[in-house]
């Protein structure tokens, strides 16, 4: 790289990053992202207390039935328990209090084990599981906000005429695009970090409200997975936003077009060829489907997959459960191909773009 080109690239990257940190929209998006992630990631955990309370009510009803002589055992009997050894009513029809206490104790143990199972490792309300559910909730906003940021960064200089100024000053068009991408990478790292940290903190707070043990089942590996998957998603949709911005050269058009496609893309996260319709048929080659596959593989793997590179998900087709395959071997490479194609087209189109006044 020639010295002057290198200087232009470094200087422009510095300017773009500086502009990013002076952009009010950027801060607005970060704040909204924090609020949405904080709220949405706590949603799955919010059902914990009502479910515990439901179990407690059920337990009290069970106690009442036992005291009235009904031998009720919720959750089944333990191995050592033989109902004939613990009759609940004597020959006179009176409740045998001693045996009633045994029944109550068994029900209480069952109740407690159900509560414990909720928050145990791999339990429905385990820290790890709540994080995984939270990811599903917040990923849509990461996609949308990344796209909006890219569109804003790339279209502002059309509006200002800054692209014309830079090109007329002899700055290579590829240098301009590269410096924009530098700023987008910084924005992407910030979005990713903000989303991951807010998700973590929000669930820690919610989790602690359960009065349960610390989130021991959350590993460094899982934290690393969140970071790389979020970064990948953010970058690929930023690349897409950049392409839309360069093609349409208008913030409004690029946002409308980009968001419309992004919503469809996110819809494809959960669609497989087992579903009906044209999009379902072509879903294995779509960006959305493959990102959905990465999310599922990393955060929600289903045991019993075929081979090491595939796993199954179960969908209901015509009222019947059917197993669908997602090809994980292809998911990551295809996503990277999409990101590369968007990036390449952004360079190519900007190089050919007429910068009219």
């Amino acid at each position: 790289m020639k010295d002057s080109t290198k200087n232009a690239f470094l200087q422009l990257s510095r300017i773009e990053i500086k502009k990013l940190f002076r952009n009010l929209t950027f801060y607005f998006l970060v704040v909204i992202l924090v609020l949405l992630v904080a709220y949405l990631s706590s949603v799955p955990a919010n059902s914990y207390q009502p479910r515990v309370q439901g179990l407690e009510s059920q337990l009290l009803v069970t106690y009442d039935l036992i005291e009235r002589g009904h031998p009720v055992l919720l959750g089944g009997a333990p191995d050592w328990f033989n109902p004939e050894d613990y009759p609940l009513i004597d020959s006179s029809g009176a409740v045998i209090l001693e045996n009633a206490e045994v029944y109550k104790q068994i029900n209480n143990d069952n109740f407690q084990s159900q509560i414990d199972a909720y928050t145990a490792e791999e339990g429905e309300y385990s820290f790890s599981n709540l994080i995984n559910k939270g990811i599903r909730q917040v990923v849509l906003f990461l996609v949308i906000f990344s796209l909006i940021m890219a569109v804003i960064l790339f279209t502002a200089d059309y509006r200002n005429g800054s692209y014309r100024l830079m090109v007329s000053r002899g700055v290579k068009r590829s240098t301009i695009v590269t410096s924009k991408f530098m700023a987008l990478i910084v924005a992407s790292v910030i979005f990713t970090s903000v989303t991951a940290i807010t998700l973590f903190v929000s669930i820690v707070v919610t989790y602690n409200n359960f009065n349960a043990v610390n989130p021991a089942d959350f590993s460094i590996l899982q934290a690393g997975n969140i970071i790389w998957v979020f970064l990948l998603i953010s970058l690929v949709y930023m690349a897409f936003g950049s392409l839309m911005a360069i093609v349409l050269a208008s913030a409004t058009s690029a946002l409308l077009g980009g968001l419309m496609i992004a919503f469809h893309s996110v819809g494809l996260f959960y669609i497989t060829p087992c579903d009906q319709g044209f999009l379902a048929t072509i879903s294995p080659v779509t960006l959305g489907h493959n990102i959905g596959s990465i999310l599922q593989a990393v955060f929600d793997p289903v045991a019993g997959g075929v081979g090491t590179s595939q796993f199954v998900e179960t969908v209901i087709v015509g009222g019947q459960a059917e197993q669908c395959f997602r090809n994980l071997n292809l998911a990551l490479p295809l996503t990277i191909v999409y990101a590369s194609v968007f990036t390449f087209l952004t360079y190519l189109i900007f190089n050919k773009k007429e910068l009219k006044g």
């Binding site: 200087n7 200087q11 502009k19 800054s162 830079m166 000053r169 002899g170 068009r173 007429e354 006044g357």
Partner: protein, 302 residues
């Protein structure tokens, strides 16, 4: 191409859809020339400049800058003032100069101060660009254009949006740059601007170059056969001249007749017969407007 030409275009053509915006422009600017690109709005001036600056692509034709075919590297030696200023609205004038002025080499703070001083923006250098008036924005563009002491300066309607005082200053500035030996390409639709500062001229009409050459020479060549008459009753004089077969019109407080000097006696007699006496008669001087009108075949500058 001619040795030493700073800028040369060969059959430069540009279409926007069905519209032929520029039709085979051949132009050559030598070092030290102040070259005016004159034409009404929509004549192709900005299109030509956008092509020269690599902002849009020609349908056909070639552009040579400093002897080489157009490439980004050559544009580093060009200073430009365009309508779309391109500065960042949230930054001050000085910061904009610092940022854009350091794209190819570290910025020289002294040069930034000098450039701001030159265009009279020192006092407002720290104000945000978005708070600038149209004229101030234009001045900042000029400061940026001269910042790196470029070999070629391209001005596209540099006095747009400026007040009369500002216009005079900018014209003076362009003249100064010309005296310093800078090569200047000035696109303008203002005749006075071009006439005052340019040494050479190209006239564009509907994307075609209809005339080009040294301004002084063009003015000499455009000796129009027109006589200016000062008479008392303008309307009556026009009617009499029409009846006598002359083409005449009123301009300001004079009658302008299309006629050569040999017809002066006849005109005097025709008017006198109707009791109209000429107070003053002179051959009309050639000016840029007449050059333009002759070149474009128009009756009036748009």
């Amino acid at each position: 191409m001619a040795q030493g030409a700073i800028l040369k275009t060969e059959n430069l053509t540009k279409r926007f859809g069905k519209i032929l915006a520029l039709d085979g422009l051949n132009m050559e600017i030598l070092p030290g020339q102040v070259y005016g690109l004159l034409g009404p709005n929509g004549s192709g001036k900005t299109t030509a400049i956008s092509l020269i600056l690599g902002l849009i692509w020609p349908a056909s034709g070639k552009i040579y800058l400093f002897g080489d075919e157009l490439k980004p590297e050559s544009l580093k030696r060009v200073g430009t003032v365009m309508d779309s200023h391109g500065f960042y609205p949230g930054y001050s004038g000085r910061d904009n100069l610092r940022m854009f002025g350091s794209l190819h080499k570290p910025v020289d703070e002294k040069r930034v101060d000098e450039a701001l001083e030159l265009v009279g923006l020192t006092n407002r250098a720290s104000s945000s660009f978005k708070s600038y008036s149209m004229g101030m924005k234009q001045r900042l563009s000029i400061a940026f254009a001269v910042l790196d002491d470029p070999e070629l300066l391209i001005f596209d309607e540099p006095t747009n949006g400026m007040d009369p005082e500002g216009i005079a200053e900018i014209r003076e500035l362009i003249s100064q740059l010309a005296k310093q030996g800078k090569t200047v390409l000035l696109a303008s639709h203002m005749l006075a601007e071009v006439e005052q500062v340019c040494t050479h001229l190209a006239i564009l009409k509907h994307g075609r170059m209809v005339k080009q050459g040294e301004l002084h020479q063009l003015m000499l060549e455009a000796k129009r056969n027109e006589l200016e008459l000062v008479v008392t009753e303008l309307e009556k004089a026009i009617a009499v001249l029409f009846d006598a077969g002359y083409n005449a019109r009123i301009e300001n407080t004079m009658v302008v007749v299309t006629a050569h000097e040999g017809q002066a006696e006849h005109i005097t007699a025709v008017l006198a017969e109707q009791g109209l006496f000429i107070k003053e008669m002179r051959r009309r001087k050639s000016n840029l407007e007449s050059v333009f009108l002759e070149a474009t075949g128009s009756s009036k500058y748009p």
